[in-house]
Every structure is written in structure tokens, then in C-alpha cells.
């Protein structure tokens, strides 16, 4: 009895008799289920750890009575809320107490998902075949032919058959214990009390999810005296909702969550934050390309590696102490197998990370050249794959155009995927954006998990550089 508050302060501020009596109607099954639950909590010695989740329905005020931690949930969400509590404190004994509208109608998805998840929570389901709180409307568990406020001439085919929750829950893999009990005989009440206690004990032992469906009386909305309501449950509900254990599997205690880690070293390792300073090779900001903020676009087809190359440039910039950004193209232009990346390298801060008018365009195919060639700023650079596009003319004579056969070179090295690294080599030679060492360091860093690919990538970079130098030398002649 100690698990009930001495005085129900939350029931109308505990005034008068309300301090000691429930808000339930005379003969309501909720009171009995409360008592058995309170006994179970007491006998198992879990009062301090218990968190009771009250639903929406007649038992919305369960928190008036139980001297435990209490949370009141939105309609149908008690099981989801219970899981939130259990994950926050795996030691807590979390009990989701719900009626039929809450559990079997509006909260069906949460009910089934929590059951299938199987984490140890205890669900007490009060099935009285009617909506109590809202005034006697049809419940998901109302019987065929049962007349209610919203099925005045009896539940019929158009309303569907009543939900048999214990059977449904027992059919899932998650739960370890499912039983349906009733309250209308002394023997049945003893069983109900035992089932509720077992469902709490299974949680206490970390064995899993337990569900007890209690066939209960709602004399008020059945419009019957309490003893007639007991008879009604026996005569009409029992054939549809047969009592008994629906599932009871032996499971070793399994539920344990380790205490969350707040250890500095574990954290920095987990987020891969390095405490080692990056080597720097730049003498200063490459202001010859733009005094403050160099904007670039890398454009190709998916698989050309434009995004990876773009990332490498941004990483190289940041390693050198500048600001760098990379943004994969977004919106309609990113559809249809194309892959565009905008990159910025700024002395202090990248203002606008988009590159509508880039200083440098790296084009991996002809459509990209066609689309972006004319957006390149005066005095800028176009570096393109001359294996797939030829005789590219700049939109403005001040633009330097460099053709390097990315694809052919990469094929020659035996790995087509390195053509983006060939392109980076060409970028270095054509623009002198960063020293070679900066790029090489960024490539090594990116490949540190696949170290055996480093020589090939360095070769590709060198080949791109050589080809660009050759192209520029030939053009000068």
C-alpha cells in the first residue's frame, strides 16, 4: 500500500475526500489494476526506480496516485515516452499504463514498434471495450454489435472487427511475456495480480518487454451496475478475448546499457580530431588568383570524382590556415548523373560558398564546359579533360585554357578513378594555387586508411602536372 501516495495531493489539490479516493467511477477496473500494480512495485522493491507513464484516457491521472516518478504522455504515445525514459536510465523500471483507445487505436504504431523493439518496459493495457474519458464512444476493442455513442446501432462490418491486442503483440518477436487477464472473479483477480507482478519482474531482471492485457469493467459507459458489468465482461468479452498466457519465453537477462562516455580522449578519437598540427607549405595566400577569395567549380559526370577532388582542395586550403568550403551542387542541376562542386579558398572568411562566376573551372566533360565555360571570370582558368573535349576556346581572351587528357593519363596508369587526381595535378601546374607539397599532403591524409594507393595517386598527380606544363609550353611556342 505504501506505493500509493498517503494523500492524493494532485487530485483537486487533495481537498476533502479526494485526497484519499480515486477519480474512477464506482466499480471501474482501473482501480483494481492500480492496486495490483502498486503491490507489484512494492513487493519487488522498485518504488524508487519506477517511472509510471500515464496515458490519455480515464487513467490520464494515474500520476495522482503512485508515489513513483511520473510522466504524463500525449494520446497514444505512452510506449514511445516509456522507451525514452528507459534509454535515459536503463536502471529505471518504466511502466506504460494505457487504455484501449490509447494503445490499440491512436498509438498502434508506437505500441507495435515498442513491442517489437523488445527493450524491457512493462505495458499494462486496460481493455474495457469502450472510450471512457470522452464519453462512451466506440473503441478499437468494442465488440461486434456493441452499441456505443459512435456506433449507436451496434458495431458492424464497416467498423471492422475488434483488435485482439494480446494475440497481436504475442505474434511479434520482441516481447518475452504476454498475458490476458480479467477482474471479475476472485481467482481471476489473483491471476491478474500475479501477471502484473511478473511483467514488472521481467523488466527488473532485464529480460525484455512484457505486456499484460486486463479485461476491465467500465460500468459507466456500459450503463450497467458494477456487478452487471462484471457479468458482461465474462459473457461477451471473454469469447472474443480469451484469457491466458499468450507468450512466455525464457530469456536470460540481456538488457544492459553502458554508462555514456564523457572522456576527452575517447571523444577526440571518436570525432577524429587530430591534436597534431598540419605542416604548412604556402608562403602566403595565392593572391595572384584573387586577392581575397578564390572561387572554383569542378564539373563532370557522376563517377568523375569531382566531389573528391573538390574536397581535397578545401582540405588543402584549411590545412594551410586559410578558409575553405566545398558544396556539392544542389537543386535541379544535380540531377541526371551530373556532379558539380563549388569550392572556395579565402584568405580570411569565405563569404559566399557558391561559385556562380568561378575564377577556376575544372571540366571533366564537354557538357560541363558548355554549361559553365562562359561563367568563368576574366583572367580566370579553364582546365579540361582533352580526352573528351577538343579545341576549347575561351569566352574571353584573358582566360587561360589548359587541356590535359585526364582520362587517357589515368587509363595509362591502369586506374580510371585517378583522373580527378590527374586534374588536381593539372590545376597545380596551371594556377600554382598551392605548392605541390600541400596537395600531396592532403592526398596522403585522405588515403591514410588505404596507404597502398598513395604511390599511384602521387604518380597521377605528377602526370597531370607534367601534361599541363607541356600544354602551356606548347601554347607559348
Amino acid at each position: 500500500m505504501s506505493v500509493f501516495y498517503q494523500k492524493f495531493e494532485r487530485h483537486s489539490h487533495g481537498e476533502g475526500l479526494k485526497g484519499q479516493s480515486t477519480h474512477y467511477c464506482a466499480g471501474c477496473g482501473h482501480g483494481l489494476a492500480h492496486k495490483y500494480l502498486a503491490d507489484a512495485i512494492e513487493e519487488l522493491g522498485v518504488q524508487d526506480n519506477t517511472v509510471l507513464v500515464s496515458p490519455v484516457g480515464c487513467s490520464v491521472f494515474a500520476y495522482y496516485y503512485f508515489d513513483t516518478g511520473n510522466t504524463q504522455a500525449a494520446h497514444g504515445r505512452a510506449a514511445a515516452v516509456a522507451l525514452g525514459h528507459k534509454m535515459a536510465n536503463p536502471e529505471a523500471i518504466v511502466i506504460s499504463y494505457q487504455g484501449d483507445g490509447d494503445l490499440a487505436s491512436i498509438g498502434l504504431a508506437e505500441t507495435v514498434a515498442a513491442a517489437q523493439l523488445g527493450a524491457p518496459i512493462t505495458v499494462i493495457f486496460i481493455n474495457n471495450a469502450i472510450y471512457g474519458m470522452t464519453g462512451g464512444q466506440m473503441a478499437p476493442t468494442s465488440l461486434m454489435g456493441q452499441s456505443t455513442a459512435t456506433s449507436p446501432s451496434g458495431r458492424n462490418r464497416f467498423n471492422g472487427e475488434p483488435m485482439k491486442m494480446a494475440e497481436l503483440i504475442a505474434s511479434l518477436d520482441g516481447p518475452v511475456y504476454v498475458e490476458r487477464v480479467a477482474l471479475f472473479t476472485p481467482a481471476g483477480r489473483k491471476k491478474a495480480a500475479r501477471a502484473i507482478k511478473k511483467a514488472v519482474r521481467i523488466q527488473k531482471e532485464g529480460r525484455g518487454y512484457a505486456f499484460v492485457e486486463v479485461l476491465a469493467e467500465c460500468p459507466t459507459h456500459l450503463k450497467m451496475t458494477p456487478d452487471k458489468a462484471e457479468e458482461w465482461v465474462k459473457e461477451h468479452m471473454l469469447p472474443i478475448f480469451p484469457l491466458g498466457v499468450k507468450k512466455d519465453v525464457e530469456v536470460e537477462p540481456w538488457f544492459k546499457l553502458p554508462a555514456p562516455s564523457f572522456e576527452a580522449e575517447t571523444f577526440t578519437r571518436t570525432v577524429e580530431a587530430s591534436t597534431q598540427a598540419q605542416a604548412r607549405f604556402c608562403k602566403g595566400f595565392p593572391a595572384h588568383l584573387n586577392p581575397h577569395d578564390i572561387s572554383m567549380k569542378l564539373a563532370g559526370a557522376g563517377g568523375d570524382g569531382a566531389q573528391t577532388a573538390a574536397m581535397l582542395v578545401a582540405v588543402a586550403a584549411i590545412n594551410e590556415g586559410f578558409d575553405g568550403t566545398h558544396i556539392p551542387s544542389y537543386g535541379p542541376e544535380s540531377r541526371g548523373g551530373t556532379s558539380y562542386a563549388d569550392v572556395h579558398v579565402a584568405r580570411d572568411e569565405v563569404l559566399n560558398p557558391a561559385s556562380p562566376t568561378p575564377d577556376i573551372l575544372i571540366a571533366f566533360n564537354a557538357p560541363s564546359l558548355a554549361k559553365f565555360g562562359l561563367t568563368v571570370k576574366k583572367g580566370g582558368f579553364i582546365i579540361y579533360d582533352s580526352s573528351v573535349a577538343r579545341d576549347v576556346k575561351p569566352g574571353d581572351p584573358s582566360i587561360t585554357v589548359v587541356g590535359v587528357p585526364f582520362t587517357e593519363i589515368a587509363a595509362g596508369l591502369g586506374k580510371l578513378v585517378v583522373k580527378n587526381i590527374v586534374a588536381l595535378g593539372a590545376l597545380q601546374a596551371a594556377t600554382n594555387l598551392f605548392p605541390t607539397e600541400t596537395f600531396i599532403a592532403a592526398i596522403r591524409e585522405a588515403l591514410k586508411e588505404k596507404a597502398k594507393l598513395i604511390p599511384l595517386n602521387e604518380q597521377a598527380f605528377q602526370a597531370g602536372m607534367d601534361a599541363a606544363k607541356e600544354f602551356l609550353a606548347a601554347k607559348q611556342k
Binding site: 518504488q47 525514459h85 584549411i318 559566399n352
Partner: protein, 464 residues
Amino acid sequence: MPSVEEKPKPFLVPEYCKGCGRCVNVCTKGCIAFADEINPLTGIVPIVLDLEKCTGCGLCIDACPEPYGLRAMEQGETYELQDPARLFGVRPDAAPAPVDIPARKVPLPKTQPLIIKGNYAAAVGALLAGCRHFYGYPITPSTEGAELMAKLLPKLNGVFLQAVSEVATVNHMYGTGGAGIGSLTFTSGPGFSLMLEGISYMVGSEVPGVFVNVMRGGPGLGNIAPEQSDVKLACRGLGHGHSHCITLMPSTPQEMLDYAILAFELSFKYRNPVVLLADGYLGQMTGKVQLPDYMVKPGIPGWAVYGDQGHRGNLISSIHLQETDLEKFNAHLEAKYQSMKVEARAESYLTEDAEVLLVACNTPARAAKGAVKSLRDQGIQAGLFRPITMWPFPVRQLEALLPRIRRIVVVEANAGGQIMDELRLNMSQAGVEKLPPLTYVRRFGGMLPQQTEIVDHVNSILGK
């Protein structure tokens, strides 16, 4: 062997009897019958006990639904209504006073900046803020945040739970937050809509939690490209009732991290959810992100329903049945919202001598910053005012700039001008009625306002 006489017989304070009769039928000894008259205190006909033949079988006690109805008789009990504390003895195990376990800071070594995308940065920020619980339902363009949490949380002994829906997500957060533990979700417009009921419950129960909404194009399914069309929801539509949350609008990956940390701090400071509004473009943008020199190790607040002895007496609930109680609670909420106004933050860029003021948030603010730069190169005194909190709106910060401003241009990525609405409404509520002429640059449907469009617009309104 105990004799039957030793078993306790039932006892009833008649005032606690509801007269349901459940006990009457179970007594085979005929000890229980309804009284002859109504009890004047309850207006109910209670039962009366005649225990001469009683065997103490206890069946009647098991059948009584009332906690303080039929009980086993103890020595010296009488039938008079009296204080149960005296009647049943003072309980030795009444809940102790709630315990407040404070959060503390764990120093971190100096590290090189991370180079990560905005969505990742917000996730790492949450981890730094001490968040070890993530709930979410995958939705583009926010999924990378969830994916990173799924990868990292197990390494930090945290909990990653993919919920059955956004409705379940927000209710997992309600449970975890109610336990006094911070949790995070990533979502986008349609998912955010589904969470609103739960956010209203969190506000009404004063439960913390952080929602990162990486906004995409709407309404309906819309598309997955960036928009800023949930400003209205975050500032004016957080479910039913008088609900508001601090709403932060970062514009760089660094800010995604910084404001995720701030969001957790504010969420606990005010016992209220916090919304971080990003856009799809910012979520995808990679940049330099410096970690702070500390990480938060959260405590357990005194008000939490943690599930331990120190917090047993607590209740998380948004119910205030009596009108006067709910009125009082809403007044408390309103006072809390007012007190949040000190959290209003904004960045002003080149505003000291500005005459044309661009107002923008998130990624459009970066295009606007670029536009300020190129307008200045043309000799136009442009500046940028970037609200970092959209709710509370940085009214005072904007007001301070107004005397010199001749034009305000709101740059945003939604069709109706949700940021402009916030600006007008907040300034008007604060009594600032006179604003310079407002015009706007808007793109939407997944298109973002571009730097060149902003520059052209400013030139056109200046007649250049």
C-alpha cells in the same frame, strides 16, 4: 500452523467506499452488505461489515478497487474518518527532496579544425554539449546527421534509436528529456510537421530537447532542395497552445556546431525545446570547424523524472485541470518567453556606415555577405544584418542600426516572406513602428537567392 483467526479482517473507512459492491459478492460468509442509508459526506451508499463470521480470507480486499477502500485491519483502527498519516502511521519512505546533480565541463585538448559538412557539425556539436541520445526518422536532406550519430554514439556508449516515425521520435525525446537527459533529432519539413504535437507537450511540460530542422522545399512533399519555409512553424506554429522555442539559424558549418552546443545549453537553462533551423545547402556544405576546449558532462536536474530515489517525487505533465491553474501556468510560460529575450543574437557585417541593410539568415546570408562586398566595391554603403536567433528576434540590435538605414532588403528562400513577417511583427510588437522601406529578394522551390540577384536588386531600388 496459523489459525484462521490470526488472519487480518477487513477494515473500511466508509467515506472511502464508492459503493460499487464488488466486495459484496465475493464474501461467502455474508459479512458484507450495503448500508441502509447514504453517507452524508459522500452522497454514496457504502457497504457495512459484520465481521462475526469473517475468516479473514481477504477476497473482499482484493476485490476493492479503491486504494484506501477495504484494507486489512490493523490494531487499534476505528471507523472514524481521520488523517491517514495518523491512521496508517507516518510512512518511512516518503519521497526525499529532489536532487540536483549539476553538469560540468570536461576540458578537451587543442585540436586541428575538423573539415566536415554542416549536418555533421551539428551532430558533433550535440555530442560536445553532452548529448548521448539520438532519436530520429530518416528524411532528406537531414539524414547525414542521423547517420553520423548512428556511427559515433555507440563509440561513446550513447543511444541511437531509429524511431518508427517522427511522432515516435518526439515522444522518445519527451521521455528522455523528462528524465532530465538531453536528446537530439535531425529532421526536415514534413517530419517537423509531424513533431509539432509532441513539441507542444514538451513546452507544456517544460522538457528540454534539440530539434535540427534542415529545411527543404514545401508545402507537402515539395522537394528535397533547400528552402527557408519552416520559419513560420518554428516561430509561430509549434503545435497547439502558447508554445515558443528559441530558434537558431546558423549560416556556416562552424555555426552548426557552435549553435548546437548553445541549443542544448539554452534548452536546459529554460527547460524548453530549442529549434535549430538550417537549410539543405548548409547541411551539405563542408567547411572548417574548430572544436571548443571543453565538452559538457551533463548532470541530472532536480526536476527530472530520472527513475531514482533522488527524483521520485517529480512529475512531468502538461495538465492543469483547473482554469486558474492553467492560467497561472501560461503566465509563467509567458514570463519565461519574455526572459528568453536576452538570448537574442545577431551578426552585423559592415553596418557601421550602412545605408542599405540586407537582412538574411542561413545560406542566403552568405550570398548576401558576398553581395555586400561587391556593392561596397561599387561604392554603395551596404551592410548585412543577420539574425542568429529568429525567435526571439534581435529587435534591439536591429533598432540600433535603424537611424542611418534608408533601405532594408530582406533576402530569403521562401515565397511568402516568412523572415520579413518575423521582422515586421517583432519590431511592431516592440513598439518600433517606423521602418525604412522594405523590399525583398526571394527565391524558393529549392532555388536560393544568388549574390548577383541581390546586387541587381539593390542597384535597381537605388535607381542605378
